[in-house]
């Protein structure tokens, strides 16, 4: 990526999340596929955003072919791609469940997804960012969990790329400075909810605590071991951990502080402890909803950043900063409804938060 005056995008992100000065605050946006399609239909120049690379296709062993690999709106709009460089370790089930359509009506398509869940979605939606309707989940009890575990072997060589070579990847990351280097971890709540569905997973904390303890212990082991090689090799390069787990709604967290302390905290401390030992200390949790009741525990677990601080759930970046200071770097919290309104509403939303955050850093 072209280096604009001053810092690289990576330096901007790294400085900001460490509460150091950045020449320009990184502006992170997500561009959903549906949005891109709409913008393209409205005149966004395709030739300026589509990315095409030459790759070996599995069916063309020695033949390089141009392949559409996605789109780059970050450069086009001058925003930051926080997920630009991702540490390439697979955290999903291996082998994958074969994704296939198993039913169709006039309005829906029903799929077995790669996670093993069965889901329905409306026809005509390009992306899955808007959650599909889950019909069935792969883990229901200890027996189905034991079976699922067989696909979560952390030592399976297929978790790393075919061309995995530590030095080569370090060089590659150095060469591309388009954003921070990111390591993905799905937090235990996100992991369990994806495997069991939110209601059943939440119920199991009371109905089958042994199952939850076992899942949490295995989640810890699985993540540390699958990442060990990459983390130890790239520890000087990994800038930020993206810790996904949507565990709250507008009302509050889905699990109580007591359950968080008992079931999640010990494992979180060990996984994050492993990262900290390898000099990785910026862990950004991605969760919608009202997190106030468990924020102390989140900090105690070792999480050091929060995103997106959902306004609709009452999260306020100014309050969180006042209470937690530099313990948490913060991202998001601009009310999308005000942005959609535009004009004065949008301006006043930005003015009420951005200058304060710029001043306090992080």
């Amino acid at each position: 990526m072209k280096k604009s005056e001053g810092m690289t995008p990576r330096e901007r992100v790294v400085n900001t999340i460490h509460f150091r000065k950045a020449d320009v605050l990184p502006w992170y946006e997500s561009y959903y596929e549906d949005t891109v399609v709409k913008w393209l239909s409205e005149g966004l120049p395709a030739h300026k955003i589509l990315k095409i690379e030459w790759k070996l296709r599995p069916s063309h062993i020695l033949m390089n072919r141009p392949v559409f690999t996605g789109f780059d709106l970050y450069t086009f709009f001058g925003t930051t791609n926080l997920r630009g460089l991702v540490v390439p370790v697979d955290g999903g089930p291996i082998p994958r469940f074969k994704q296939r359509k198993i039913g169709e009506t006039e309005r829906y398509q029903e799929y077995v997804m790669e996670s093993g869940a069965i889901a329905r979605r409306l026809k005509g939606e390009y992306s899955w960012y808007s959650m599909p309707q889950f019909v069935e989940f792969p883990v229901k009890d200890m027996e189905s969990w034991e079976k699922y575990k067989e696909r979560l072997n952390p030592d399976d060589p297929r978790r790393y790329p075919l061309d995995w070579d530590k030095e080569a990847y370090l060089n590659l990351f150095e060469e591309y400075q388009e954003g921070a280097t990111m390591l993905y971890i799905t937090g235990f709540y996100g992991f369990g909810a994806e495997l069991m569905g939110i209601p059943q997973f939440n119920l199991a904390f009371y109905k089958d605590p042994e199952l939850i303890h076992d899942m949490a212990s295995y989640w810890e082991y699985f993540n540390i071991e699958r990442l060990r090689d990459a983390v130890e090799a790239l520890k000087d390069r990994i800038d930020i951990v993206f810790w996904w787990e949507d565990l709250a709604t507008r009302h509050g967290p889905n699990i109580s502080p007591r359950l968080y302390r008992e079931f999640l905290l010990p494992h979180y401390r060990r996984v994050i402890g492993f990262l900290n030992k390898n000099k990785i200390d910026r862990v950004m949790m991605d969760s919608d909803g009202n997190l106030y009741p468990i924020l102390d525990l989140i900090v105690e677990a070792g999480i050091t950043g929060l995103w997106p601080l959902e306004v609709n759930a009452g999260m306020d970046v100014r309050l969180v900063r006042k209470k937690y200071g530099e313990k948490l770097f913060l991202a998001g919290n601009l009310d999308k409804r005000k942005v959609a309104e535009g004009g004065e509403a949008m301006r006043s939303e930005v003015d009420s938060k951005v200058p304060f955050m710029k001043e306090s850093g992080g």
């Binding site: 309005r107 829906y108 329905r120 979605r121 409306l122 808007s130 959650m131 599909p132 309707q133 569905g197 939110i198 209601p199 939440n202 119920l203 904390f205 009371y206 109905k207 709604t249 507008r250 009302h251 509050g252 967290p253 889905n254 699990i255 109580s256 359950l259 009741p293 609709n312 409804r337």
Partner: protein, 241 residues
């Protein structure tokens, strides 16, 4: 003393004894109701709940009374704790599942009259939206609270809401939407209810992450619930009036 006086004295004594016995029974059953409610509130194991229910039945307490004064009272307190931020989703779901399981066991013992529902609601996620987690949690709580729920599912067309209203004549219509983009569908449903002449016969309750009170007022809904417990409380208030 005349024999009639003796008779009167005996009658009074028997009457007082019976009153005392009934009062004692009531105290004992109150005690049991409270124990049952507390088992729910304290999220204790279902074996304990089963034992208490068995004890109550042996003491000739009616299943309906067990449900109303024990189980649902407990669930109501759990709802209050949820509203106060003391309990969270896991606690709420577990308590509701305890009540549902217990009611299932008691169901065959209930007389037809005592199984009358508290009210009827038609529920669905509006057209274009297929999210159902919140709706399903609300449904579970409504059923545990004795409501008859007609769940039309997700992606429900406005005309299907209207047809069902005409068919089952519910007290309430509950509309759910997660996506900002499907909010306008809620307005369409309300307009269709008006057009069919049934809007005034039902209360309309909105729920879902994207819904705000302001929006609810704007489109003419009766209430907007910020969570499942608040939604249940609104419905109970409507039925009580």
């Amino acid at each position: 003393m005349s024999s009639s006086c003796y008779l009167l004295e005996a009658y009074v004594k028997i009457y007082i004894s019976l009153e005392l016995l009934s009062w004692w029974r009531e105290i004992k059953s109150m005690d049991l109701h409270e124990k049952i409610a507390n088992t729910i509130v304290n999220l204790e194991d279902s074996n304990k709940l089963g034992t208490l229910i068995k004890e109550a039945l042996e003491k000739k307490i009616s299943p309906n009374e067990i449900i109303e004064k024990g189980l649902r009272k407990g669930l109501e307190k759990v709802g209050q704790k949820f509203e106060m931020g003391e309990y969270f989703l896991s606690e709420l779901l577990f308590a509701a599942s305890m009540v549902e399981d217990a009611i299932r066991v008691l169901m065959p013992l209930l007389s037809a009259r005592s199984t009358e529902n508290k009210g009827t609601i038609i529920l669905g996620t509006v057209r274009g939206d297929i999210h159902d987690i919140g709706k399903n949690i609300f449904k579970m709580l409504m059923e545990a609270n004795g409501f008859k729920v007609y769940d039309l599912g997700v992606d429900v067309r406005p005309e299907d809401f209207v047809d069902k209203v005409k068919e089952v004549k519910p007290d309430i219509v509950g509309l759910s939407a997660l996506l900002t983009t499907t909010l306008p569908e809620m307005k369409v449903v309300i307009e269709e209810l008006k057009r069919a002449g049934v809007r005034e016969k039902v209360k309309v309750l909105l729920g879902g992450n994207a819904v705000t009170e302001e929006f609810g007022k704007k489109i003419g809904a009766d209430k907007v619930a910020k969570d499942a417990v608040q939604g249940v409380n609104f419905c109970k208030e409507w039925i009580a009036k």
